[in-house]
């Protein structure tokens, strides 16, 4: 990949604590990689997101925006995508959902 692009792969639930961890990790990377111009956050392994997670993503966006960079979110599962959509995140940056193939699998059988 180009050196000016960073892809983050957070895992599990993005809430109060885990969001702060992602944010801290990103800050550390940004500190040592001044030339970073594009941030991709791959939410493929994120199972849950609340407004703390959204706040973190917005914070990342502001940081990238501040350094004339870009950001996009990809691979969001249906439940995560729904929250991103509700928050109006799509007005700020591209938000892509997980391939339908993955999200259709198990539909209707998703009860636990």
């Amino acid at each position: 990949m180009e050196k000016d692009t960073l892809t983050l792969y957070p895992q599990g639930d993005l809430d109060l604590v885990s969001s702060q961890n992602v944010r801290d990790a990103l800050d550390m990377i940004l500190y040592s990689h001044g030339g970073l111009k594009q941030l991709i956050v791959n939410l493929g392994d994120v199972t849950f997101i609340d407004s703390s997670g959204l706040g973190m993503l917005i914070g990342c966006y502001k940081t990238m925006h501040g350094r004339q960079g870009r950001m996009m979110i990809c691979d969001a599962a249906d439940n995560v995508y729904r929250v991103l959509e509700l928050s109006g995140m799509k007005k700020l940056m591209p938000v892509l959902r997980q391939e339908t193939q993955k999200s259709v699998r198990g539909e209707g059988y998703g009860k636990r």
Binding site: L16, F48, S52, L86, R112
Partner: protein
């Protein structure tokens, strides 16, 4: 056919307990055979309410207690989330979308609680704390079965 139940949790106001409360809610709601969508909605609302207690009510002080009471009666879920923190001076303002007292917070907490639950009430007194009461009618099992086909 519903097995009514109630559980009361007192958790320390540390961030890690937000996910713990969500997991416990998952366990508490397990017998009601909910779809993952419904379960996710409840978990988001709960997550927002508990996070609010910690971030706003207790201003990130970690030696306080958040109380969560979950009750199901005739598949009617009531979740009460309480703190004894600083309280909210203007509840109406606090519930406005995009209102936040803190930067990097989107002011979506109450919006999500309102969106994902049927009903939400907030009781608060400055200096005394805040109680959020959220209600949701759990979908009947038959409906869910017919969706499965």
């Amino acid at each position: 056919m519903g097995n009514d139940n109630q559980v009361t949790l007192h958790v320390k106001s540390i961030g890690e307990n937000v996910s713990l409360v969500r997991m416990m809610a998952g366990g508490f709601l397990y017998p009601y055979d909910l779809t993952l969508d419904v379960l996710d909605e409840i978990k988001i609302a709960l997550s927002e309410a508990v996070s609010n207690c910690m971030i706003h009510g207790y201003e990130n002080r970690e030696d306080e207690t958040v109380t969560v009471i979950m009750n199901v009666q005739n598949r009617h879920l009531t979740i009460e989330v309480q703190d004894t923190g600083i309280g909210i001076a203007d509840i109406e303002q606090a519930m406005e979308p995009a209102f936040s007292t803190k930067e990097e917070h989107m002011g979506l907490g109450f919006v999500f609680m309102q969106t994902f639950m049927d009903n939400i009430e907030v009781f608060s007194e400055p200096g005394r704390g805040t109680t959020v009461v959220m209600k949701k009618q759990l979908p009947a099992m038959e409906t869910q079965m017919s969706e499965v086909g």
